[in-house]
């Protein structure tokens, strides 16, 4: 292919072919939606010098610089790298891990989403698979980051326990629970665990700290939100620790790798084979993983 541009190779580096000949939109690597001031500065300089002076924000917290001349691509990448900015990926591999601000910033947050997004990124980013694969991390049931639209979505929640002693029957938790899991009987709160969705609102609002919450991860599998729309499914109980979480995410990716046809999205694989195979695999991983 002498003299021709290998777009498949280019795409790995996040260079999206543009309508305008010889130009592409360069996708940058953003983890969990955060960029430092230095990152932004260099992106701004590059957009001015090599692009058309603007950037485009993607729906998955990515940033693209349109109108990069393909001949200047290497130079542009080098300039970006000086400001700590790497290029993103496209094509059949693990994509940008998205995240909301999570418990470090947001009062509603149950889990530290940004740290988890970085860890997932280190573990999986760019890994070659039969098709693209998306992770999204959202800090709580408010779901600002739309966990279920990802191939694997992770949502923060809480496992809760009630201590009678500090409870002074103020009634706040019964009212804030949106699933009707709580009721007041003789001045004590009664939990119907089957209705609890682990949102943690009772914990966050109890003035006496009578509710104790342990943060956990609620994982959904096989979501997609493109040509074809499907809400990822929860196949496991809430997960209390990261080792288990990573065993489960490893298992999901492995399952996809082993079972998907080339160019088949996770959801399509699950539709073709049924959900039970994946269910069994992640269940094993959840229960201890030792095979």
């Amino acid at each position: 292919m002498a003299g021709e541009i290998n777009y498949a190779e280019l795409k790995k580096g996040g260079f999206m072919k543009q309508k305008q000949k010889g130009f592409g939109s360069l996708r940058l690597k953003v983890i969990g939606g955060n960029l430092t001031a230095e990152n932004i500065r260099v992106i701004s300089e590059v957009a001015e010098k090599y692009g058309r002076g603007y950037v485009h924000m993607t729906s998955r917290q990515g940033v693209e610089i349109p109108f990069i001349n393909v001949e200047q691509l290497a130079e542009v990448k080098e300039a970006l790298l000086k400001g700590g900015v790497e290029t993103g990926v496209c094509g059949p591999r693990v994509r940008t891990v998205t995240a909301c601000q999570g418990s470090e910033i947001c009062p509603s947050g149950c889990i530290d989403t940004y740290t988890l997004a970085k860890e997932l990124d280190e573990r999986y980013f760019g890994r070659e698979l039969p098709h693209k694969f998306k992770f999204g991390v959202t800090g709580c049931m408010n779901n600002c980051l739309k966990a279920e639209e990802n191939d694997v979505g992770i949502k923060g929640g809480m496992e809760i326990t009630y201590n009678e002693e500090p409870c002074f029957s103020c009634g706040v938790c019964v009212k804030v629970c949106r699933t009707g899991a709580l009721s007041m009987e003789d001045g004590k709160v009664v939990l119907d665990a089957s209705k609890c969705n682990h949102c943690g609102r009772c914990v966050k609002s109890c003035p006496a700290d009578a509710w104790v919450g342990t943060p956990g991860y609620i994982v959904s599998f096989g979501g997609t939100f493109g040509n074809f729309i499907y809400q990822g499914e929860e196949l496991l109980p809430i997960i209390g620790d990261k080792e288990t979480l990573f065993r489960v995410t490893d298992a999901a990716i492995e399952y996809f790798e082993e079972n998907a046809k080339p160019s088949e999205r996770f959801r399509k694989t699950l539709e073709r084979l049924g959900i039970d195979g994946l269910k069994e695999k992640v269940r094993k991983a959840y229960e201890g993983g030792e095979e």
Partner: protein, 84 residues
């Protein structure tokens, strides 16, 4: 639940505003209290009653009771806690 009576020093009605002004209005009223005074905050069912108690807790004030007025509104009794 027995309808116990809670004594209060001031009251504020936030049923005429929507989130996030509900909390702002309550906060302004609490700010005007002396340390230890109790305020009755009347709020609407739905979002206000789900969010305002928690926001007040996060500000460090002491929540005493949430009473159902049985007219689609609730009254939250709050004791002001001056920041240490």
């Amino acid at each position: 639940m027995a309808a116990e009576v809670i004594e209060f020093d001031e009251q504020v009605d936030i049923t005429d505003v929507v989130c996030p002004i509900t909390f702002v209005k309550a906060k302004v009223a609490i700010d005007e209290l002396e340390d230890g005074q109790v305020i009755a905050v009347r709020m609407n069912d739905g979002e206000p009653v789900q969010n305002v108690p928690r926001s007040i807790k996060e500000e460090g004030h002491q929540i005493l009771k949430l009473a159902d007025n049985e007219d689609g509104t609730y009254t939250l009794y709050v004791r002001k806690v001056e920041e240490a």
